[in-house]
């Protein structure tokens, strides 16, 4: 698990976001078993109550489901998975728009740059900025 927690956002929200990313990219597959709350707390070095809260919230949002005493699993509902992906994309695009607007970059120029830089590897891009 590769997750860097910051200390200002609620930890449970950061955990949910991490799961959403994994679901959207397909690293966590529909129906896949996930770590128990305690395993998660232990891996991420977070409070077990917080892990519990993240799971409860994800359960309510339909991202995961639990049958009886079995380990929780990722949802098989394609509508939800599609929605998660769209949500993450929209969020990233909005963040991008906000930062690009704050330095007055016209749409055409931004689009041009996206096309030009999209396939470069991240290190190269940093050099260009």
């Amino acid at each position: 698990m590769n997750i860097k927690l910051n200390s200002r956002d609620p930890v449970y929200i950061q955990v949910i976001r991490y799961f959403k990313e994994q679901i959207a990219t397909g690293i966590l597959e529909p129906g896949q078993e996930i770590a128990s709350r305690r395993e998660l707390a232990n891996k991420l070095k977070i409070n077990p109550n917080t892990a519990q809260r993240a799971y409860k919230e994800m359960e309510e949002q339909g991202l995961i489901f639990t049958e009886g005493n079995l380990p929780s699993r990722i949802t098989k509902d394609e509508v939800i998975i599609k929605h998660v992906r769209e949500e993450l994309i929209l969020e990233a695009v909005n963040t991008f728009i906000a930062s690009i607007q704050s330095i007055n970059v016209p749409l055409e120029e931004a689009v041009e740059l996206i096309k030009k830089n999209y396939h470069k590897n991240p290190n190269e891009q940093e050099g260009n900025q």
Partner: protein, 229 residues
């Protein structure tokens, strides 16, 4: 629940605790934060009735502490209280003789968790390993509440990580933990509740996730706010 109600404590003419109140729930990790000399250890001593208080009271699950309470709550001081010539095995035997709540199965589990050898003498251990033995002796008691005084102070980063791991494991599960620290950054994501102390009073008592959620602040942000106000 541990309820600390308006306790005051004087050492001679010096007032150390000036009306301290807070609560610590079972199943939660509560952290007393404050610079050195602010009265953190005195509060833990007062909860355990190891030092008389001048006024106020402490209730554990609604009761004042009594003889049997020591099977329900334990205190892990900042330095080990066993004799240095004892082997770890002797120290465990000492605890087993003394407490009904001693759980040897859990003690053995902790030994392997911390990678300790029961035949080692306490005097021969490194500082980090001494701290781990100290933790082990407290954690292996089947008690509902654990008080730990500065479990992270003065030990190396890896031992610190190992001790922090205990908090997310089943070894602490469902118990109420009160720890004191002057260095919060290591354990910021581990604690449920923070109680910030200064000059013998509680400046602020809050749930860490609530403050992140409602105010967008880290525990350190809140500390900066209250100390610099």
């Amino acid at each position: 629940m541990i309820e600390v109600k308006d306790i005051t404590k004087k050492f001679g003419r010096k007032k150390v605790l000036n009306g301290v109140s807070f609560t610590a729930n079972k199943g939660e990790i509560t952290c007393l934060i404050g610079i050195n000399g602010v009265g953190k250890t005195t509060i833990l001593n007062a909860i355990m009735n190891l030092t008389p208080i001048n006024s106020g009271e402490v209730l554990i699950d609604g009761e004042k502490i009594h003889k049997e309470s020591y099977e329900k709550i334990t205190f892990i001081p900042d330095a080990i209280t066993m004799l240095p010539q004892m082997r770890i095995a002797d120290a465990m035997q000492f605890m087993a003789d003394f407490y009904q709540s001693w759980n040897q199965v859990r003690a053995d589990e902790l030994l392997s968790f911390f990678k300790l050898d029961p035949n080692d003498r306490i005097s021969s251990l490194s500082k980090g390993n001494t701290a781990k033995v100290n933790m082990l002796l407290g954690l292996a008691l089947d008690v509902d509440y654990l008080l730990m005084d500065e479990p992270f102070s003065g030990i190396d980063i890896f031992s610190r990580e190992q001790i922090a791991d205990v908090f997310t494991s089943h070894l602490v599960e469902d118990r109420g933990v009160v720890i004191t620290t002057h260095e919060i950054s290591d354990i910021e994501h581990l604690i449920d509740k923070a109680v910030i102390l200064n000059d013998g009073v509680v400046l602020r008592e809050f749930n860490a996730e609530d403050v992140r959620e409602n105010e967008g602040k880290s525990i350190i942000d809140v500390m900066r706010e209250v100390y610099q106000a």
